[in-house]
Amino acid sequence: MTKTLKDYVFFVYRCAVLTFEGDWRYFLWMTALTAGALLGLNAYCKQLVTGLSVTGMSDAVSWGLYIANFTFLVGMAAAAVMLVIPVYVYEDETLNDVVILGELLTVAVIVMCLLFVTVDLGRPDRFWHMVPFVGKFNWPISMLSWDVIVLNGYLAINAHICGYLVYMVYLGRKPSPYLYKPFVFLSIFWAISIHTVTAFLYVGLGGRPFWNAAIVAPRFLASAFTAGPGFLILTLRIVRRVTAYHVSDKALMMLRRIVQVSMIITVFLLFCELFKEFYTDSAHVASSRYLFFGLHGHHGLVPWIWTAMAFNTAALILLLLPVSKSLKYLDLACILAIVGIWIEKGMGMVIPAFIPTPLGEIVEYFPTTNEWLICLGIWSFGLLLYTIFLKMTIPVLTGALRPSSSTRP
């Protein structure tokens, strides 16, 4: 047992050493990401000292950019399941080579999610109050306690699957199905549940009609399955260009179909929601009206949401047309879809529920520079993490790193 552990640690060490290898472009990329992460760290230090008053949040709009990013990223994390299902359930070979990259993305993204929740806390020093059995965990009543469990659980499951499978490739052994298959199937169930639980976080609040709609969870899943695989397409395009790892066009086209179908569903569900809101035109439409058209002369989110609508529509059209079989247009469609969904599901989902307040007051929310910097920091750190994961894994997957090979093949 200790021998196995020692070998495994040595394996991780050898992979880690690889992250110090690369040409200047790689180092510049890493430097840029580190710089971004440090900008965030610096802004967060200021937030720690001064308090959340460095943000644009208020008693009226008590959640902002942090929770918006969190919501979007939980979706990205859940999206790996769209690769896992074809590969492990249908045993479709097409995505075989890329599924592990999707799972690695999940790990990095969940770390980002956890960071976004942490920076949103007023008392991060009291994090231990949330640790089951140590603190006082309001489970199963509080949806947030469910979120803590599903996020950390999903992180652990994916870390295990990635670590184990990559290690087996390294050793040249066939992975034992008992050690990963149950986890893979668990992860499918779990992926759906992390995003559902995140949706329920909002849906369960009767005092916020904008969120209190059953369609939120399905919308979350559909948009997640658009943005996540879309992001993966972009990643794979880069991986294909800068590493020796083979990513087939067929795999990219398979991902395109996933993004395509999910995008259609996303737009359809969005349409359903908009119809219900605006056709009914009850008092509860105020938040949606604020979001899309502004309310009583306040238009803070209007440019954002119409950008998102334009991007989503453009992405949908591109994805429906055969032109997106060309990788360049596919890239464009993915970028548009990701940005569109990031706005719509982040700012567009979180902020309007607070405007107007339950007492009818309109207090708008404008993120501050420090807030943007913290978000930039977490995104940079997440990308840094994902780059490191890829840098560690790809030489193993290509066969360049084996127990017998020297560290620098």
Binding site: W24, L38, G51, H129, L144, L205
Partner: protein, 315 residues
Amino acid sequence: MEEERKPDESCAGAPEGGGISRRAFLGTMAAGAAAATAAALSPLKDIADLPTLEQFLQQHYKELTPADKEAILERIRDEVQAKYGVRPNLTDPQPLPGVEFGYALNIGRCVGCRKCVYACVKENNQSRNPQIQYIRVLQMRKGSIDVESSSHDYEGEVPKEGFYYMPVQCHQCRKAPCVKACPVEATWQEPDGVVVIDYNWCIGCRYCMAACPYNARRFNFAQPDLPKEDLNADMGYLSNRPRPKGVVEKCHFCLHRARNGRYPACVEVCPTGSRKFGNLLDPESEISYILKTKRVYVLKEEVGTLPRFYYYFDL
């Protein structure tokens, strides 16, 4: 690992293409990154409210033994004395048996003068800047109960023609969404119906604020600022002791007064006598009388929170 590092050293001697060697490069980068990190962390030197080990390890209110609690009360007395120069009368009054608090507000009498707002601020040691107020008075159009057409920032002489006034504060709901939301049980409902917050347990996630249909909860976005001379030294642990930065607070029916048999500050200050308070379980109390004889409604009944805060009218 030394032998595996060899290739590094071999190229250290012969950099190609006019570049610098990998080893020198990594070293420089590490130094640069370290310098930048140190600079990034520099704001931390100004941190003033780092929790002491005792504060950090303090258990949840419900887990405290009487001895623990007394030690904590003593510690807070010391902290308050050090900061405000007054030794507070800090206690932890317990719920009274056979008492469930209820509140009624005469919507026909309220003139919207906001005295309750400031009596509350004074009684409960709220931060003055950033400003925290538990009570929000809505100026409503006559003929409408839609809060969206209300004004919160009216000024000058009141009552104004064509308007009526509806103050809102924590409704101490029987089915409190905030209590359900809290991931760490830092807010809960006491046997006398008051929803309280353990300011030393709240993690500041603000999920309760998102959950509250009455916008009754306030967050300490910065270190609360309370002038020394404005401190109310009569304090309760779960009510008006000074709060730290980064936690949520709200109306608690002046727990330190109510549990000692007294009326909340907002009741005593109201110049029109629109505010009524008492024991719902006592059939003789004024609150029971109002519920029996007046036309009573609760705000946002459709949300199903079952508030203990009622609005009534008799005009």
